[in-house]
């Protein structure tokens, strides 16, 4: 039984009264909460349910216009074509198959395409847009847009497609773009969201690959509100990206196509360089390929042709092919000997057609020998014995050091992928890689540019340009990058004695101007004097017994065992402007095969070369 005193009674009633007030207040708040629940869930429930379905703030990327590539003349090497594409998002479409069948009534869509789209959609995550059809006409896009309510999840897209108007002529240089592979995604440290766009293309070879990042540009971002059927309600905001940079090459079309045409049918490469500023005027690798073929599904026949193991059209031999430089290396050996002070330009070396070193016979290409030859004559006749002697005297380390100064064994700094550095061997290198000691024979082979020495045609052109100018000129393939002229590098002198350079140049002059020079038959006939050097690089070993019977002629050998034909040269002799290098794989003799090609290319260079063409004023492309 509860007992209260009179005072307690009052207390109790006051507390109860206050508690009642509180309970009443709290009850009303609960009432408000309940009313609000009713309002949200029941009265406006449908509206909110719709909002929940529509609750898709889409972030759309605005793909930037890919940077354009121009040639020397200012002509476009790449075109960004507009392409209309239909994309579809599984998550938004409800029943993809039904929607695709409806779509097929509006746009040309084969059952195969429908199946492929369905497959793509099932493989990807539900919200990833998948390309259903591409290359459509504007009318199709208009039809799809007009029927948008019946086509949930379907969006027409305007994209850019890359095309290469000059086709095969720049196949190796410009390269081509292709779809983003898983490998590309894994190897993208920036995790650029652009790569995740369906249909987005990135550079696969050539400049397109090498300068992918700057060419790609930066994505803009558009935030849009879409409703449950995928129709855009409004654009919330937009952040513009930047288009890719535009690039102008130093390569001119006329010379490039001439070089390729001249080498037609051969597996060969040629590089023309302006010795004064390093401009690469032509960088031709034959046979070439049409990059446009990679933009569509490639045919079986084309694929087989491009992967021909003999001609290897996909390889840019001018930078990725490395060959023993053979006799074109003799200038390096001569300079190494002169600079080391172990040779004198007037000194004669006797050539009996061979040389005996540690019991082994080293042959000169001329069986009977050249008799007494000095350095100039040795270069003129390309006497092997003379350079065996020089190599023995100066040693491999000096030769390699000199070769490196001329850019051999050094990766050229040119904006192309798969640039090869070639090889300039050292004793340490042979020990480390071949696990063998360096022997005198190795030095002698190096003395005539055989053995371990390897160089790419581009490196040979750089070497020739440096010989012609006595400077450290660096190759330059991009003239203008994002509206800025790129600098010329390497105009500083090599630091070689001019009298030494003069001897070597005289020897090279004789090669194509002396009656008995190895390339006299390929001298320029337009009144310009060319200096050069032939090279015939052996790809097989000539046995003693074969030598006794007489060396088999190249023509009688199977193609892949024939010698590589090389030629390097520059013109005009007195005022050098252009250097050229030509390598014809398994072409035979340098003087017979490579020299005429080099001569024709040089002659053409002297004739057609002009300054840079004006670039069209850059305008922002709309995507």
């Amino acid at each position: 039984m509860i007992e209260f005193d009179s005072k307690g009674e009052i207390k109790r009633s006051r507390l109860s009264r206050r508690a009642l007030i509180l309970a009443g207040l709290q009850g009303s708040v609960a009432g408000i909460i309940g009313w609000r629940m009713h309002q949200l869930g029941v009265k406006q429930g449908d509206q909110y349910r719709l909002l929940a379905e529509e609750n898709r703030i889409n972030i759309q990327l605005l793909p930037p216009a890919r940077g354009l590539i121009y040639d020397r003349d200012g002509d476009l090497l790449t075109i960004n074509n507009r392409v209309y594409t239909i994309e579809m998002v599984r998550e938004q479409s409800g029943d993809p198959e039904l929607i695709l069948n409806r779509l097929a009534q509006l746009i040309p869509l084969t059952p195969e395409q429908i199946d492929k789209a369905l497959l793509d959609m099932s493989k990807r995550r539900a919200f990833v847009p998948v390309t259903v059809a591409t290359g459509l006409e504007w009318e199709h896009i208009a039809a799809v847009s007009a029927n948008a309510p019946a086509l949930p999840g379907v969006t027409p897209q305007l994209g850019l497609n890359r095309q290469y108007p000059k086709g095969p002529d720049y196949g190796h240089i410009v390269g081509y773009v292709g779809s983003v592979s898983d490998y590309d995604l894994d190897n993208d440290p920036d995790r650029d969201p652009l790569l995740r766009i369906p249909r987005f293309k990135i550079g696969k070879t050539g400049i397109e690959a090498k300068l992918e990042k700057p060419l790609r540009g930066e994505a803009g971002i558009k935030r849009i509100e879409v409703n449950s059927i995928g129709r855009i309600i409004r654009e919330l905001d937009r952040q513009e990206g930047g288009p890719g940079v535009n690039i102008q090459l130093t390569i001119g079309h006329e010379l490039q196509s001439f070089a390729l045409e001249r080498m037609k049918g051969k597996s060969a490469s040629a590089v023309v360089m302006d010795v004064r500023n390093g401009d690469i005027m032509a960088l031709a690798s034959g046979p070439t390929f049409d990059p446009n073929k990679f933009l569509k599904p490639i045919s079986q026949k084309d694929w087989a042709e491009m992967n021909d193991p003999k001609m290897r059209p996909l390889v840019n031999k001018a930078v990725a092919g490395t060959y023993p430089p053979a006799s074109t290396f003799k200038m390096i050996v001569a300079l190494a000997a002169l600079e080391a002070g172990v040779a004198n330009q007037g000194e004669d070396v006797r050539c009996k057609g061979h040389m005996l070193v540690s019991g082994r016979k080293f042959h000169c290409w001329r069986r009977g020998g050249h008799g007494n030859v000095n350095m100039r004559e040795a270069l003129r006749y390309s006497c092997d014995v003379y350079f065996y002697e020089m190599a023995l005297r100066v040693g491999i380390e000096n030769i390699t050091r000199m070769a490196n100064r001329f850019g051999l064994g050094v990766r050229p700094n040119v904006e192309l992928p798969s640039m090869k550095a070639g090889l300039t061997p050292t004793k340490e290198w042979k020990n480390r890689i071949k696990k063998q000691d360096w022997v005198l024979g190795d030095s002698m082979n190096a003395g005539i540019g055989q053995g371990f020495v390897l160089a790419s045609p581009l490196q040979l052109a750089v070497m020739t340009a440096r010989l012609a100018t006595g400077t450290m000129i660096e190759p330059r393939m991009i003239n203008m990058y994002d509206n800025t002229i790129t600098p010329v590098n390497g105009v500083e002198p090599l630091g070689l004695k001019s009298s030494h350079l003069a001897v070597v140049r005289q020897g090279m002059f004789d090669v194509s101007n002396h009656r008995r020079g190895t390339a006299f038959g390929s001298r320029l006939k337009n009144g310009v004097q060319m200096a050069g050097k032939t090279g015939t690089s052996q790809v097989r070993r000539i046995t003693t017994s074969e030598r006794r019977r007489g060396v088999v002629k190249n023509e009688d050998l199977p193609w892949n065992r024939r010698d590589h034909a090389l030629f390097v040269g520059y013109a005009p002799f007195r005022d050098p402007k252009y250097a050229v290098s030509v390598v014809v794989e398994h072409g035979g003799g340098g003087s017979k095969v490579a020299a005429p090609i080099a001569r024709d290319i040089l002659a053409r260079t002297l004739k057609v070369t002009k300054g840079y063409g004006e670039l069209p004023t850059r305008k922002r492309e709309q995507t």
Binding site: K11, R18, M37, L40
Partner: protein, 378 residues
């Protein structure tokens, strides 16, 4: 401190279990189970993410509640001042040594859970005020000099919590204390004055914005602003409110069904397992579910009031009203916030939201209510 021995008529030993307020305990259990289900659902059907730890904490809390209930309320009255100072010390500890979480220093790491002393303070403050008014002669309650101490008792922890900064807890502290003071019978004029002062403060808060006398943090200003107009930044702070309203409303009358909520699954909903769990609940169980949960909550509050009415001494009554009301403020502020009727202040849905402190402290508080119920009625 004034103290009356009531234990004569109270049950002793394990016989107490018979006098336990079982309906209240079962209600608490029911609401907590709703919480477990929701945590299971928002984790996408995964027990271990949130539900499992929550259940563990609930079991510990529930046992704590039973233990507290068994101890005579007179003991709790005696230690109330101690509890207050202990909480105050812990508040000071987090103020100076607390882990920094979410930009504010709020908790002490106990290993199995993170203790927020501010949660503890909510109950300790109610205890100490109930104790004070029990001791104070009722004729004096409205005398200004006897209001000084309660104001100091409230002001110190409130300022500390505001400094953390935790606007939601500060509001709950003041509201809980206010209920005790109000129930104790303090003249209504004072409450009128306080409300007037609050209006003045709010004005001052917004007047000083941007000046060097700024009272609130920038994010607190933004939260209040977005509350007033969520469309200011639909992707910033307003996102919370917009999305939770969509979530709640899309549940319709009967909801999409358990585990069928799209909004939390699509990650449209922020803080889906803590402060905004009611939005998912509303989406999955709709208006009917919401009303049911609200009714369960109100029933707990109602039981507290009934128990308070029947308590014999002032301490027990004031304590029970204070705790019941604090519990009410928790869910009322949370629900109003989630439904866009109050600013986003960071108050959890009691017994449902993921988090140890609030649950442990509330279960302990219900232990006090039970203790008062067992040892005082009759």
């Amino acid at each position: 401190m004034h103290f009356t021995d009531n234990s004569k008529s109270a049950p002793v030993g394990f016989g107490k279990i018979l006098y336990f307020h079982w309906p209240l305990a079962l209600l608490v259990l029911t609401v907590s189970c709703v919480g477990f289900l929701m945590l299971f659902s928002v984790a996408g059907g995964d027990l271990s993410t949130w539900a499992q730890p929550q259940i563990t904490r609930f079991v510990i809390g529930f046992i704590t509640m039973l233990v507290i209930a068994m101890i005579p309320i007179s003991f709790w009255q005696r230690v109330s001042l101690l509890a207050y100072f202990l909480s105050l010390i812990l508040l000071l500890v987090v103020e100076f040594f607390g882990d920094v979480g979410g930009g504010s220093q709020r908790w002490i790491d106990l290993g199995f859970m993170r203790l927020q002393p501010s949660e503890l303070m909510k109950i300790a403050l109610v205890m100490v005020l109930a104790s004070y008014y029990d001791w104070l002669d009722e004729a004096k309650v409205s005398k200004p000099q006897w209001l000084v101490l309660p104001i100091i008792l409230v002001a110190i922890p409130t300022l500390l919590v505001l400094k953390q900064p935790d606007l939601g807890t500060a509001m709950l502290l003041v509201a809980g204390a206010g209920v005790v003071v109000f129930s104790a019978g303090v003249s209504l004029w004072y409450f009128g004055a306080v409300i007037g002062a609050l209006v003045g403060l709010v004005t001052a808060v917004f007047y000083t914005r941007g000046t060097e006398f700024e009272i609130l943090n920038d994010y607190q200003y933004r939260r209040i602003e977005t509350f007033l107009d969520p469309s200011i930044s639909p992707f910033g702070d307003g996102y919370h409110i917009t999305q939770s309203k969509i979530s709640l409303g899309s549940g319709g009358f009967s909801g999409r069904g358990f585990m069928e909520g799209t909004q939390s699954r699509g990650n449209f909903l922020p803080e889906k397992h803590t402060d905004f769990i009611f939005a998912t609940f509303g989406e999955e169980f709709g208006f009917m579910g919401g009303i049911t949960l609200l009714s369960l909550y109100m029933l707990i509050v109602f039981f507290c009031y009934v128990s308070a009415m029947r308590n014999k001494d002032r301490f027990s009554s004031l304590l029970t009203i204070g705790i019941g009301s604090t519990f009410f403020f928790y869910f009322a502020v949370n629900m109003l916030m989630v439904m866009g009727l109050a600013p986003v202040v960071g108050v959890p849905l009691p017994l449902v939201s993921y988090g140890g402190s609030a649950m442990m402290v509330l279960l302990g508080a219900f232990g006090l209510v039970q203790s008062a119920h067992i040892h005082n009625v009759r």
